[in-house]
Symmetry: C2
Subunit: 203 residues, 2 copies
């Protein structure tokens, strides 16, 4: 069991990929950085998600805690051993990687072709949907990451994220009781903006 304070690094781009992790609490961001500091967050990992399943010998991305997080660590032999004992585990892990790939394709569509409003709408619905599986309310979502993180996930600047959220608030589509709390007022509108390909992945 590993505990990580917000901002702490689990591993860095280029580190040996000796372990696979399962998030049990908190939020972990996976990111890639160019030499001049430009950053792309490739995913926010929530409880239940695996980290490092896709990596070969070396991690191609960094993993850092966004909020206080806990993770289970598995080394390769232990994982192989477990796969032998638990029937269907291998298939489950394979399915997880496939789901990640599907999600990556959706994100490519978002990054390449969606407007800031559409990006934010898609992001909010995705996050709310994933949290809903753990009993959270479907009509609101807590953002434990900063505007900068969201921007680096959606291919926007933090200013554009802020402006877009506040414009949606002004338009009566969402409410922002606090900077980290988003309430969906017109879910149909948000869903229309998102045009989500994803039909709610099971998990």
């Amino acid at each position: 069991m590993i505990r990580l304070d917000p901002g702490r690094t689990l591993f860095d781009q280029g580190d040996a990929a000796d372990f696979v992790y399962n998030v049990t609490a908190g939020t972990v961001r996976l990111s890639m950085t160019l030499s001049d500091g430009r950053r792309q967050i490739t995913g926010f990992m929530l409880p239940g998600d695996f980290i490092g399943l896709s990596s070969r010998a070396v991690h191609s991305y960094s993993a850092e805690a966004v909020s206080p997080s806990q993770l289970c660590r598995f080394n390769a032999p232990a994982l192989r051993q477990m796969a032998e004992r638990v029937p269907g585990l291998e298939h489950e892990l394979f399915a997880r990687v496939r789901d990640e790939l599907d999600a990556a394709h959706d994100q490519m569509l978002l990054l390449g072709r969606k407007s800031p409003r559409e990006k934010i709408a898609t992001f909010l619905l995705d996050l709310a949907g994933r949290r809903q599986r753990w009993g959270e309310r479907p009509d609101r979502v807590h953002l434990d990451m900063t505007r900068g993180d969201i921007g680096d996930y959606l291919g926007l600047t933090l200013e554009t994220v802020s402006r877009t959220l506040n414009r949606m608030k002004r338009d009566g589509v969402i409410a922002l009781p606090s900077a980290a709390e988003v309430v969906f007022l017109k879910t149909e509108v948000i869903e229309g903006l998102a045009q989500s390909q994803v039909p709610a992945r099971p998990g």
Copy 2:
């Protein structure tokens, strides 16, 4: 064995994913489309690449031939049967999906954070690198897709693709003997622009 003329569809977004394909000749584009026609190409599949490995029951993207193409088709039972006979095949297929995921992460970095010049440079080097494995010259690359296809792959308009290529030509970085033929004149410059994370995937 399936033959596809340029522009023909192998399968569409939403079709049942009953088969897995291996490209043996030509180029196939995988794309996702929003209701208003905006399109994102998630990948160009070249000889040796598998299509449909990542799909669940239904394809989340369409597959169309870019150039005259040939593919081998496998249904799920045949694939399972083959996996039992050929040792290491299952691992190979799993590795392919992981590589695809890695490539998808790189593409997210490209789409979210790279400039048009950097996008084009990355694209050219990637394509040349993949073709090199089949004996093509490493200092040039043939583009069998249109400027529009390239734009939809890189999150740009076709005009920006054209302008960027011609500006790189004017700058003496590349030569364009024809619209479909790119010659690398200053490979160091192109590599610098690309800042490729990818250390040449084996295959």
